[in-house]
Symmetry: D2
Subunit: 116 residues, 4 copies
Amino acid sequence: MTDRIAALSATLAAFAHERDWEQFHTPKNLAMALSVEASEIVEIFQWLTEAQSKRLPPEKVQHLREELADTFVSLLKLADHYKVDLIEAAHQKLEKNAKKYPVEKAKGSAKKYNEL
Amino acid sequence: MTDRIAALSATLAAFAHERDWEQFHTPKNLAMALSVEASEIVEIFQWLTEAQSKRLPPEKVQHLREELADTFVSLLKLADHYKVDLIEAAHQKLEKNAKKYPVEKAKGSAKKYNEL
Amino acid sequence: MTDRIAALSATLAAFAHERDWEQFHTPKNLAMALSVEASEIVEIFQWLTEAQSKRLPPEKVQHLREELADTFVSLLKLADHYKVDLIEAAHQKLEKNAKKYPVEKAKGSAKKYNEL
Amino acid sequence: MTDRIAALSATLAAFAHERDWEQFHTPKNLAMALSVEASEIVEIFQWLTEAQSKRLPPEKVQHLREELADTFVSLLKLADHYKVDLIEAAHQKLEKNAKKYPVEKAKGSAKKYNEL
């Protein structure tokens, strides 16, 4: 059974290799691309109310879907350079966050852990 | 067999629910959080040369790993709100990009498709 | 009479020169720093409602003031590299925007010019 | 003698008022817009080497000039909401940075103050 993320990583690597793009895909540049893609997501929501942001019309959802994809691709390529497994890293970060934000202190609060 | 991403999504949803945080996790706010997390990755690389960015010392890799995790978590939560499968969306975006960046035109070039 | 922005630019240049930091302050790196600083402003507001964002408590205003300063410094240094006068450039951009967003079409609407 | 920044601020306020846009220009939304505009600057440089970033061709400089203007406008509007004088705030931040980065320790180093 092949992991779906590993399969995507392999496809991405082949895509860049065919185009001789590895030279541009340094971690520094991928970090820049990641933040640019993330901002294209922010752009969709910047003038909407929080309520409006929850129910985008279908054509905006399609646009969001493409920007989510672009962001994920940059993130995954950067993670792959450093052999970081995003899923495993997320679970471990979550365990750490569980300690920083214990339920009894963090419940219903948007404060940062050092302000709780 | 459970998909690893679906399992992480479920864990994230439970984490937020326990803390009564769903009220804060609107798509508008998640987009903001995503861009903030992406910038914490940019911060790691901002004064490094491209060559240095390829070989971070171990303690910086560990820091990067945590920021990659945070970014992925925000991205996944936003994708989940709109029921977007990130892997599928990435493959579809890649097919679109293959048309925008045909190998014969894009090879070795960092130009945007509309400048090729 | 010395222009206040020109005076700040001169102070910033001297600050970097004394520390032999010009080598790091390439436009690419300054663009990264600018986006990192801008995100530190976003971080202040990310979990607040729009109403809350209008009336931050005094200690948060002080924090915002410092992040606004950092962002302005990166912006000004980048503008200086390309001898761009930010005030003049802003007035010219505004004239362009006045054509893209004529009052009768744009009034009360948050739509982008190409959707009006 | 009118301050050039104050004059720009007044023009910006009138521009928004005519279009009934104050409702959208909450600090939260302006922070989002600021980061989106900053990322449009990052986009210009993302695949360039540091050396290339220092000498953009004229048409790219013109594009950069417009993005610098947009970024400055968002920054100034946010500063105005909280009555922050950007120039004064920058000078004060610089004094603080002079203490965090004394010449003898910071000279020639890109390290953060807490790593010096």
